[in-house]
Each structure stands twice: as structure tokens, then as C-alpha cells.
Amino acid sequence: MRRLSLIFMLVLLACCIRPAAAERVVVSLSNHRVAVTSSFVGEDLVLFGTIEPNQPRAALRPPYNLVVTVTGPRETLRTRRKQRVLGIWVNVDSREFVRVPSYLSVLSNLPIAEIAAPDVLRRLQIGLNNFLLPQRIGPDIADTVPEDPFRVAFTRLETQSGLYRESATAVTFLTPTVFRAAIPVPANVPTGNYLIDVMLFSDGALVARTNSALEVTKTGFEQYVADSARDYGLLYGLVTTLMALLTGWFASVVFARD
């Protein structure tokens, strides 16, 4: 009996020593800094990555699915609804979206509904319908159901302007363990820090997660103008007015000859 239990323990030990299946994701972004210059018309960044064993002899469990969520700096927006009042269309109702991402891209290799179960997607905030978008409703701040008309309108408008997107084709697997993700940075992106959250799924479960970051900054002249307009409003206004007067004066001198 004593011997039997010893054998049992040895078997148990052997099982524990055998490497468990675990993987990690290593990613690299083509460019960590997007510079908004006077010729900026948007840019496409590429995120490359590989899936590799966590420990030297760990087993891999393909096929893998990947979801990349990119979020921009937070901002507060108001969604307004028009209604006909006395024959004209007036904003009658509005809802404030508090500290929501100004940019939100959910990129994956399959439609997210096929990657994991709805409750997993909701818990991990994957997809435009599951991402937490808190609204100010009376004294409370809370997210609503995805079918809420203001929430639907908000994500629709942000998608139309190119700042929100959900793409099931943006991630491609080059081999079962090497992937690339195309991150679109449209021309109207706000400046600031962006977080890239990479989540790896196998058989509907989250198996590895990593993150990266990128920065969108105005540079040179664009930054100078934007900063002066914000920090030195009065001086900025005076200089703009002076510029207007000079332009006007210059034109009248040039054209007064004939």
C-alpha cells in the first residue's frame, strides 16, 4: 500500500514536470510615433507578431485567433438627437459619453463572434458592442445595452468618421504562428497616446495577452500653431489679425499699380 502510493506520487510528479501547454505573444509595431505634419493624410501602421511557447518545451495549440484592440486618448463627447419642432429640425435631446476612447479599432482575423463566446467577449470588452462606453444618465455614469439608440448612433457616427472600426480581416496569419495586423490611422485622429491590446485565443479561451503603445503627435509648424492657439489665445488672435491686415495691404499695393 505504501509502495503503491509512492508510485502514484511519482506519476503525479512526472505529470507536473511535463511541460504544460502555454504560449506567449511577441509583437513589434512598424512605427511607434505618428507625426502629424502639414502633409499628413493618415497612415497605416503594421503590427507584426509571433506566437511562441512560454517555456522551451511547451506545446502549441493551433489554430489560434487574434484580436487587437487599439484605443486612443480619452475624451468626452455629446450625442445629440434632432426632432421636428414647429416645422424645423432642432436638437432636443442629448447624452454625454464620458471619457470614452477618441479612437477605437477592434481588429481580428475572424468575426469576433466566431472567436469566443458572448460572455467572454463582454468580460474582455472585445468589439464595439462590448467595449465599455460610459454615459452620463442623470446623476449616474453607466454603460447601456448595445441596442440603446444613443449608443448605436454614437458608434455609427464614430465609425462613419473613421475613428471607430471593427474589422474581421485586418489580422492575417502568415503561418499558423506568425501574424500581421494593419492598424489604420486616419487623418482626423486626435493627438495623444494610443494603447494596443493584443489578445490570443485558442478554442474560444484567452491564452495569452500582451500590449504595445503608439503616440500621435503634431510636429513642427502644426504643433506650434495648435499650441499657441490654445496657450496664447489673445496673442494668437492679434497675430492672425495682423496677418490679415498685411495680406490686405500687400494686395492693394500690388494691384494699385495698374
Binding site: 468626452t76 424645423i88 500653431v225 494668437y236 489679425t241
Partner: protein
Amino acid sequence: MQIYLPIADLPVNIFLIFGMGLAVGFISGMFGIGGGFLMTPLLIFIGISPAVAVASVSSHIAASSFTGAMTYWRKRAIDIALALMLLSAGIVGTATGVWLFTFLRAVDQLDLMIGLSYVTLLTVVGALMIYESLQAELRTLKGMPAMLRRPGSHTWLHRLPFKVRFKRSKIYVSAIPVWAIGFIIGFVGAIMGIGGGFLLVPMLIYFLRVPTATVIGTSMVLTLVTMAAATVMHASTNHLVDAVLALILMVGGVIGAQFGARTGQRMRGERLRLLLGLLVFAVGLRFAYELVVQPDDLFSLRHVRRE
């Protein structure tokens, strides 16, 4: 060629903006107006937010009216005393306008207010101008003098107290209507991003009986100062003046204005007023259409603040 606008935060085609400046400048030179009532809607149409459009156009109008004012100054066709009196009220009007602009923006009714003011002002002024110039055309056809000026006719406006004499314009009127007109022009200018030239010229002619010789030059001085003041105030309160956008617009605008002025001088005054009336009326109808017809999207977004 695309250029990124630092305040409007979007890239635009530099030639498109320049072309718009040129075209509106041509019209403004031709009719002796600022052209803001055309430029602001055009900018909104190409995707610039109404608030940035209104704020930036004011500096564009300042540039084109300065060119015009210098030309009239050389011709000694500016009544400085009248302009100064209109101005003292105009600045107050502009400040009130910028304050209301900020307030309406906060309560989500700015777009509506801009739309409503455009509809009311443009259709009414346009219709009056069409009516008046058509009557003048008819009188010309019958062989009568086109301009029916009644120098002796006095209205109730002339019976108000605080009478002031304006030597250059050869008028003797109460200061109250002068202040009122100045206030209205400064006010609507700040709210609507227009210089108000198309409003001021008829007001000066019909209410104060300012002679045609000095009316346009004086109106341009007023437009210049109210728009310069509006630029400074918009820049320091709302931080929404896009200097890059304004520069492209004003360069196009002042060139266009020179050619427009030459075309305008070859046309008869009544014909010119009829054309301007039709233009003003058409823009007014366009705004009315937008307010009355159901919009494609009932929802819209507004940025409150960055975190």
C-alpha cells in the same frame, strides 16, 4: 495638394480652399461686400466644423475689407466720424455676439441659431433687394431716373434726440439709430461669421440716408474693425481660429476681390443690386431647405473636452 489644418484638425486640398477664396473674393469685390455669408457655408460644406469656420472666416473678411478700405481711403470716400460712431457700438455688439456664440455652443443650439439667422436675414434682405432693384429697373425702362432719392424726406428716425452732424456724408441724424445699427452689425457678424456688409449698406442708405459716395467705404472700415475684433475675441475665448485656413482664404480672397471690383465697375448699380439680391436670397433658401427637410442623420456628435 493636401495640407493639414492645425486647428480644424483635418487635411484639406489647398487649391480647393484657394479657389473658394478666389471665387468669394471676386463676388465680394464686385458687390463691395465681405462675402462671409457665402464663405462660412462653403467651409461647413467641405467638412470644417461650423464653429471653426465662423471664427476663421472673420480674419479672412478683415483682410479683404482692408484692401477695399485702402482703395476707398485714397478716393477720400470714407466718413471717419460716422465709422467711429458705428464702431463704438459695433465692438459692444461683437462682444455680446461672441459671448452668445460660446453660450449656444455649450447648450448644443449653435448650429440651429446659425441656420435660423441665415434664413431670416438672407431671405428678407435678399427679397427687399430684389424688389427695390426691380422697381429701379422698371423706372429706367420708363425713362425716369433710376435712383429715387428724396433728400428732404424725414422719418421718425430723424426726430430722435442726440443729433450729430457727419460732414463727409452731409447728414444730420440722431446718434441712437447709428448706435443701434452698429450694435446689430457687430452682433450678427460674430454669431454668423459674416462682416455684415450686405446688411450695413442698405441700412445706411435707407435709414440714415448716407450718400452712395461714402457708404461702401465707410461700411468697409466698420467691417474691417468688427471682423478684426471678432478674430481676436474668438481666438482668446474659443481658441478656434485656424490661421493656416485663414491665410489660404485671404490670399485667394484679396486677389479675387481685385478682379471682382473691376467687373463690378463696368455694371450699372441697379443691375448689380439685383444680382446681389438674387444671390443673397438663394443662399437664404438653401439654409431654409436644410432646416425644414428631414436630415439624413438625426444624431450628431459634439466634442465636449479632451481628458
